[in-house]
Chain length 211, copies 2
DNA sequence: TTATCTTTGACAAACATTTGACAAATATAG
DNA sequence: CTATATTTGTCAAATGTTTGTCAAAGATAA
């Protein structure tokens, strides 16, 4: 019955994984799921599943388990809010940017890609899955007009630091950063998610060589 | 003085980040660094830095700090072993595969990309930064001959499960998996690093909407 | 040399997370 | 209707991680 203390970070990091599995279940027509069943798929304990769901108010039923639909709805609401997609821009339309934009448009929920920017004249004018690639010089005027809330950074390290300050000034509230460095912004209300492919790869290397 | 109990997972996950910053310092000519200095850059406490380094045997000097060179060498050895790069193949040479292969070759240490595979006839025969793209049918014979240890999976979810079993049989010991599902292999000596861009993006969304 | 400053390594205390246990609630079978 | 099976929500115990503290070691300055 809705214990409602704000959830710990580890819980939040598990939400997307719950969500993925629950959507699968929903698609395959499964109606109910018990904590122990979910725990087996997730590779954790039933206790943890119950405790996690309780952070958001327990929507389970004793004797039955959890309704898959309810869980999906609740977690989706936590992750994507009211369903209004966050207006997003991509900066850097090279190979990585291209792949990421495709991912954003085809596989991700909750974001709408408005435009892409690059400083390479060869790319400017082309399109990326129907999104036009503009020159970075247009960034200021575009943002003033369209107020994107999220910026995806797929550009070399050098440009990124300065650019991020500019974007914060222009109202960007979240960064998905693929540049090879730790972006950190001093403004408290701005969120940064640094994606370090290299770190992930190094971890793999460590584990392969030390086990 | 080498306390040597095997390091906890959180410590290992921090190693790549230490490594990045330390290599930067090395390149800019910095010789020594104290735990408090590092902690500021890393966004943690000096205590944690000291404790982390002590997991591998403390190579610091009281009154001075740590030698940057020593740290880089030690951590590099932990992450990359003796420096022998791990022979690696890429399966799936679409946009994501292209971007990842570029990353592997340009920005990552410790891996050497031997070949790429795809089942799209339009891609087979082309090259990816000098690496030829072969048809997946050639996978078995190629692996029998070249014994890759790591497979990077950049293909749709459907193919990945079955493929991974095949690859394990063929001697692959580590997977860097970009398919949108959790690859888990039942063989205990095989490591899997699942990269979920979606999870990272969902976390960003959660934090943006709940703060 | 001596006093002072910096900094590590070690340990314990504080804090966070995960797990196990069980009462209460619902369903199911007899 | 009663007894038995499940299964949640909650709490406390167990485990894991981070932080603060301090003696000892080396550096630096007088």
């Amino acid at each position: 019955m809705a214990t409602s203390s704000k959830p710990a970070l580890p819980v939040i990091r598990r939400l997307p994984k719950y969500y993925r599995y629950l959507v699968n279940m929903q698609q395959s027509g499964k109606k109910n799921v018990s904590s122990s069943e979910l725990s087996k798929i997730m590779g954790t304990t039933a206790s943890q599943v119950r405790q996690d769901f309780n952070c958001f108010g327990g929507f389970g039923q004793q004797g039955i388990g959890y309704k898959v639909d309810t869980l999906v709805t609740e977690i989706r609401h936590l992750l994507f809010g009211d369903g209004q997609p966050l207006p997003t821009i991509l900066v850097g339309a090279g190979r990585l940017g291209t792949a990421v934009s495709q991912f954003l448009m085809r596989d991700a929920n909750g974001y709408s890609l408005l435009a892409a920017f690059d400083n390479n004249p060869q790319l400017v004018g082309k399109t990326l899955n129907d999104i036009p690639i503009r020159h970075v010089d247009e960034l200021r005027s575009f943002c003033s007009q369209h107020h994107p809330q999220v910026a995806v950074l797929c550009l070399p390290r050098e440009g990124a630091t300065q650019l991020s300050s500019t974007l914060v000034e222009l109202g960007v509230k979240g960064f998905w950063n693929f540049s090879h460095y730790d972006l950190s912004v001093d403004y408290p209300q701005v969120m940064v998610e640094n994606v370090h492919l290299g770190d992930s790869l190094m971890s793999l290397g460590y584990h392969m060589r030390n086990l």
